[in-house]
């Protein structure tokens, strides 16, 4: 059975959530939806930090590597000395590598967000489930209806 608590007020909602957790309800049995990001919820439910940073790190590292590999690789592919500059002119390649670090880091973070949040959530889109402006706690009591 699902027991639902709805609040208009953030303080009352947080109070109830804390009370439920303190009374021994396992956070896994609680589903919380809020109209905006409420930091306190993560502490109360003991949520683990998002793994998104892993995607960001991998994306940024891949971009940095790709930036240098691409510029150096193409310069060596056909060494052409122009303007008296070295074939592998690293200071100028830093700019391309920097931009690709940000590009890959940002895009892969976004893809990571979609993956971790299971977006696009096709069943929800098809079912047309809405989320309201209230703070909602749904408690799965584990009892049969």
């Amino acid at each position: 059975m699902i027991r639902e608590y709805k609040f208009d007020d953030k303080a009352a909602f947080l109070h109830k959530l804390e009370e439920l957790v303190r009374s021994g309800v396992h956070p896994r049995r609680l589903t919380v939806t809020t109209p905006f990001h409420v930091h306190e919820v993560e502490h109360i439910l003991h949520l683990r930090p998002s793994r998104l940073k892993l995607f960001t790190l991998i994306g940024a590292a891949a971009g940095l590597t790709a930036g240098f590999a691409f510029t150096i690789g193409t310069a060596l592919d056909w060494p052409l000395r122009t303007g008296g500059k070295p074939i592998v002119a690293l200071p100028t390649y830093i700019i391309v590598a920097f931009e690709l670090t940000i590009l890959f880091g940002g895009v892969i973070s976004f893809l990571g967000f979609l993956f971790l949040s299971r977006f696009p959530d096709i069943p929800t889109i098809v079912a047309g489930t809405e989320c309201g402006p209230e703070f909602i706690i749904r408690e799965d009591t584990g009892e049969a209806v």
Binding site: T31, E99, G128, P133
Partner: protein, 432 residues
């Protein structure tokens, strides 16, 4: 008013702005679309006849098109400043402006991106800019600032678009609930199935922070790279180390002015006076004043560097800028960008929206002139007197410039009726 009632009112007011457009809106849209059509017509004429119909020729090979490119990239910058930098500084007033500013960024970069293609003349060869090996297996020259620009501007567009979309997701879910018909379906798909659960918000908050952290150095790098298109050459007036910070400050200055130009009428027409308050405008006006001071300081430093260098070409060039053939444009630029914004030291003027709107128009003009003066005066008078020559834009260049403004305003007007113009979830967060 209880929080629930306030949330309901907020959602209603912001989304009401997306309902049936007024006559004034349609008129503004028609004027913008006509200007855009004029621009397309002029570009089409240039493609048909060749680049000779434009005024750019030796020695001034970069004219109004490159001025427009730098101007529009600059306009884009305040969007990222307001969204990302002010987010990292936890400036609460940003939530009144961030959505419009982010939309402005995406639209301005799209507008800017057209200009290198227009300037190319044979725009169908645009793919030569892309890093691919040509038929002789020769890759692009990564030592050229023009190639850095390709990377910088395309990265900027991609990250700005992602940032804009991510910020919209929770608000799209609200719009999904509030609208019916085809719009409901569009928002239903675009909101990706957002429910606002603790897990979703957790990942969302991290993503938003990472994107803000990426966008902040990106915004600095993009206009630095644009400035290096000039500074990496040896032309007097361009070859100076101050260019990167000078351009970045100028970009934020012009972008902030454009935010004021757009948001003052938008707030009035869409009835958002309760959410975008005079206090918020005052905070933005302070950014305008601050960046104006940096830009004015840069104008002084440019002259001092030329004088102190003892380089006769630099000294001659800056004398030409101040008292030469383009002197009126230079002094008008100084008036608009350096002198007029000083009035913002007066609190009463900072809080007067009509004044701010008019001032922002002057700054827009001033910042366009700044780019024109920097680009054209340097090319018109370089080292060799036999290579001197003045430039004036021709009809097609003026038409394309008007068209770019038409495109920008047209897309912004469409945005105001298609998507929520305020970050509803964020306003709720601050209100709570």
């Amino acid at each position: 008013m209880s929080l629930g009632t306030y949330f309901d009112q907020l959602e209603h007011d912001v989304l009401a702005a997306m309902r049936k457009p007024s006559k004034l809106y349609w008129t503004a849209l028609a004027v913008s679309a006509a200007a855009f059509a004029l621009g397309l017509g002029c570009w089409g004429w240039q493609i048909y006849e060749g680049l000779g119909v434009a005024g750019i020729r030796s020695p001034v090979g970069w004219g109004v098109y490159i001025t427009d490119f730098v101007f529009w990239v600059g306009i884009a910058h305040s969007g990222t400043l307001i969204s990302a930098v002010l987010f990292l500084f936890r400036a609460k007033f940003r939530c009144s402006f961030n959505r419009s500013a982010e939309a402005m960024t995406v639209i301005a970069v799209m507008t800017a991106g057209l200009f290198p293609l227009i300037h190319l003349g044979r725009c169908w060869f645009f793919y030569w800019l892309m890093p691919y090996p040509n038929q002789r297996h020769l890759w692009v020259n990564f030592r050229s600032p023009l190639i850095w620009d390709v990377f910088a501007v395309s990265t900027y567009f991609t990250i700005s678009a992602v940032f804009f979309f991510v910020g919209l997701i929770p608000d799209l879910a609200i719009a999904r609930r509030r609208f019916t018909g085809w719009r409901h379906w569009v928002f239903r798909i675009l909101s990706l199935g957002w429910q606002g659960t603790a897990e979703q918000w957790k990942h969302y908050a991290w993503l938003y922070m990472f994107l803000a952290a990426f966008a902040t150095p990106l915004v600095i790098s993009v206009h630095s790279v644009v400035s290096w298109d000039f500074a990496m050459s040896v032309i007097p007036g361009w070859h100076t180390t101050i260019f990167a910070p000078y351009f970045v400050a100028g970009a934020i200055f012009s972008g902030t002015a454009m935010v004021i130009t757009l948001v003052v009428p938008m707030r009035r027409i869409l009835g958002l006076d309760n959410y975008i308050t005079v206090d918020h405008f005052e905070a933005i006006a302070k950014i305008l004043l601050f960046t104006s001071l940096i830009v004015s300081y840069s104008y002084i430093v440019e002259f001092v560097l030329a004088w102190y260098s003892g380089n006769p070409f630099e000294i001659a060039h800056f004398s030409f800028r101040a008292v030469g053939d383009y002197k009126y444009l230079y002094w008008l630029m100084l008036f608009c960008n350096g002198l007029l914004p000083l009035t913002l030291f007066v609190k009463r003027l900072r809080r007067n929206l009509k004044y701010l709107f008019v001032l922002s128009l002057f700054v827009n003009v001033g910042m366009w002139l700044e780019r024109f003066v920097i680009i054209v005066t340097s090319l018109a008078r370089d080292f060799d007197p036999y290579n001197w020559g003045n430039y004036a834009p021709r009809f097609v260049e003026i038409g394309v410039t008007i068209g770019s403004f038409g495109m920008f305003f047209m897309l912004f007007l469409i945005f105001t009726k298609m998507l929520p113009v305020l970050a509803i979830a964020e306003v709720k967060e601050h209100a709570s």
